[in-house]
């Protein structure tokens, strides 16, 4: 069965800015995964692919300024679809936070979770339309 195992946003120093798990891991395991992903992804440069084998899965990642956005999926899943899913997500964040920067994700961490849940749920892509997602987020923003 194919689904996203986790989504991670990390900065170059390895600080986690978002960790969303779609599989049961215990806390130690999560910490290990976070460190491993960081080690695997940060050594790669622009000439490398945006995909890297990782344990029995693969990581699809893209770097935006100092942040790495990583999605862990099954080895036979569609690489480019997830690569663009990351970009789609980043464009939504950018719009929502008005030129998003790392600090937005720090101070509004609880809102980032809402954005994620609108776009990804149960390890699947839930909604891909930026207009629809942003409209929904705006509506939620207006609620008390």
């Amino acid at each position: 069965m194919v689904w996203i195992r986790f989504i991670l946003i990390q900065n170059r120093a390895g600080k986690t800015r978002l960790a969303k798990w779609y599989m049961q891991f215990d806390d130690d395991e999560k910490q290990k995964l976070i460190e491993e992903v960081h080690a695997v992804v940060t050594v790669r440069d622009a000439k490398h692919t945006n995909f890297v084998e990782f344990r029995n899965f693969k990581i699809i990642y893209r770097r935006y300024a100092g942040l790495y956005f990583c999605i862990c999926v099954d080895v036979n899943d569609n690489n480019l679809a997830y690569l663009e899913a990351i970009h789609n997500f980043v464009e939504v964040l950018n719009e929502y936070f008005h030129n998003v920067c790392e600090l937005d994700l720090v101070f509004n961490f609880y809102k980032v979770y809402t954005v994620v849940d609108e776009m990804f749920l149960a390890g699947e892509i839930r909604e891909t339309s930026q207009t629809k997602v942003l409209k929904q987020l705006l509506m939620l923003q207006s609620l008390e």
Binding site: K47, N78, A122, E127, K132
Partner: protein, 978 residues
Amino acid sequence: MPAVSKGDGMRGLAVFISDIRNCKSKEAEIKRINKELANIRSKFKGDKALDGYSKKKYVCKLLFIFLLGHDIDFGHMEAVNLLSSNKYTEKQIGYLFISVLVNSNSELIRLINNAIKNDLASRNPTFMCLALHCIANVGSREMGEAFAADIPRILVAGDSMDSVKQSAALCLLRLYKASPDLVPMGEWTARVVHLLNDQHMGVVTAAVSLITCLCKKNPDDFKTCISLAVSRLSRIVSSASTDLQDYTYYFVPAPWLSVKLLRLLQCYPPPEDAAVKGRLVECLETVLNKAQEPPKSKKVQHSNAKNAILFETISLIIHYDSEPNLLVRACNQLGQFLQHRETNLRYLALESMCTLASSEFSHEAVKTHIDTVINALKTERDVSVRQRAADLLYAMCDRSNAKQIVSEMLRYLETADYAIREEIVLKVAILAEKYAVDYSWYVDTILNLIRIAGDYVSEEVWYRVLQIVTNRDDVQGYAAKTVFEALQAPACHENMVKVGGYILGEFGNLIAGDPRSSPPVQFSLLHSKFHLCSVATRALLLSTYIKFINLFPETKATIQGVLRAGSQLRNADVELQQRAVEYLTLSSVASTDVLATVLEEMPPFPERESSILAKLKRKKGPGAGSALDDGRRDPSSNDINGGVEPTPSTVSTPSPSADLLGLRAAPPPAAPPATSGAGNLLVDVFSDGPAAQPSLGPAPEEAFLSELEPPAPESPMALLADPAPAADPGPEDIGPPIPEADELLNKFVCKNNGVLFENQLLQIGVKSEFRQNLGRMYLFYGNKTSVQFQNFLPTVVHPGDLQTQLAVQTKRVAAQVDGGAQVQQVLNIECLRDFLTPPLLSVRFRYGGAPQSLTLKLPVTINKFFQPTEMAAQDFFQRWKQLSLPQQEAQKIFKANHPMDAEVTKAKLLGFGSALLDNVDPNPENFVGAGIIQTKALQVGCLLRLEPNAQAQMYRLTLRTSKEPVSRHLCELLAQQF
């Protein structure tokens, strides 16, 4: 458009986060956090009731502290309280805290479920979504139990909002993944399929994921999704780039939905309905056409989205593997990508082409790209791209390009990353053997492998070269010469010394005529390596030395000197010491004749084809494989003398059997007792020889084969089995059993434990026990490589009617098998009624990215359910008489394939399962047995009689049972054992 400012909403939280960020040290941070925790604790414990805002703020702070990596042991109750707030922002923080922090805490779960229940019933879409997201994020069994029945209702209710439907679909998917038993299929399933027609593309996007998951276990229930998915896909693919507005991404209409629809279609075979199929093929062609159109944007997002669909389309084309035109077009498209400036595309093209290479329709088209792929192997900067290039070269290799590919791989090996060396070595070894036309090339290749990457050459690889050299006399001289030259290198790998030692010991005489490689030169060359080698290699070399004494008498004195040296005769290692002592004595006491007999050249290894080769051959069609044989050697017999396979001259038969031989040679078997009914006299029959063999009606062999049709997809095992990853074939398309499957099965008719199968990658061991009509079998899968097997999926399949005759329950095993590791699988077996064909064991996995599959026959034969029955002679004869109908008897007369040894025969019959009855047959040479086959539905009484005739080297086997097919089948099984 919305924009939020930092910390908007909760000032206290923003201040706290700033404080933490300003901490100069870890200690300062901890201090600040502890201060905050104390503050929050006092607030929560305080007399004053907190308002919703404060509660939300503190819970949010706790969450932040937790996410920083600190333990949080309070605040759960406050978070649960937030769930029942009427304010969205408070509810949201409550749900978030629960999703991140609560792991099925039994005390709270009831309260949480209660809050969720209220929100689900609230008819407020925002609250409903929050509740659904919480279930989807936690996905615990408790939540499944509480809500699995409600969610399908919400999903298909006419008045549910679109966003609620989206969340409900994926929430249900999560519950189904976590506990499929909790999600009952029902009338809602049909309505879920129709969500593919929904106007809201987001609902379709979510629904496709749900359907893709559900249909894997219930393909028939969801079959109607095929035509709906095709028409949806067709509408998207043929739409102009702006038609879908919100769902157009960089001028590409609905890329993610397209990909999901294409993946859904990969759960099924090509559509049966011609119109649907036509429409789908049109879609696939349109995607391929669009790939050729000039891009509508220079942005990478545009090309990525477009290519995401393209690659998924190609996956579907490969999955169908039935449209030659599309396969070749796909290959050409990928060919263009091989030289694309984007590394991503080059990587994906190599990966995708690897699967195209295994289709007969596109194999040739893939081969045309060989130069580009070789270039990729040499020049790609990213090791994972080089790895894919190596995989593809392996996949595209055949007789026409093997030399080129092998030499390129060898060259690559010199600089290859350590992580993938062993895999490359294995690939080269397999290719070199498989496509060897002249064996000198094969020998060169393997020696090169040892030279370049000796550490990564596993035993199997160098055993294999020895087998081939031993069996092919046309290459022996060349091998001796080449290995002699290779040993000249000042530093040569120990594996080279082993191969050299063995080959020179056998065939050194073939090059001894040349003064440059005269016997003393050969010996001193080998002996110069001796002291640097491990014990195992030194033991092998000692055997080479004694062989030298036989081959080259002029070296005798020197070699005896070496053997006599204190370092050998008093060696601390027992094996070395023993060899030195024995060889020294042998060389001194034995006459030249005896020496020549004992140290004779090794006999050829039994010729049989390697299972890997057989599998590859079947894939690529006849003519692709080579004539090379694969006689696997027992690793313990790898040294010349210690483990020599007994040649007739070195066999010393244990005395009891010699005794028996004498006995058996004496009188011819007497006539059968009168009670055996039919007037066939043994003596008569035997004197007629094999020509008198009764015909057995329809040959059981044929009947067996005809039952081996692919098992029906609704076979219970297919449902029980874990869903395979989408790209892998489902259990319904497992391949036919490997050619040796019958031979392997036969080995287990009379025994329950042993190695069922072994090749260079995998070993499968069996341990089993049977009682009454029940059995338990342990299968041990050993990964012989150092690379992890992925998607490891062993399944048991019941061909034909077998599922009504035999129930086999399997436990799933881990999908990964680490290098060198072994996993165990337990099978519970119940014999429901008599059966003729064994179940099939299909093992599939990915090794180094390449899919491997293997089908064997599971060693479960009807005789395993034998219950031995002791009885006196007169009971036996009475029963024998009762079973006198012609169809109750099966008889076979056959030549002995093994030495006729009474003890061995006894052991085999006992292993077969029947009781052995002494003093029943008047002729003590004969064997008589009785037993009952226990099945759930019925019991089958069986009597058997085996009459050996040592003079004719033949047996007559008679089976009488109460059931005709059982008699025939048992007779057939047992006859192959002698």
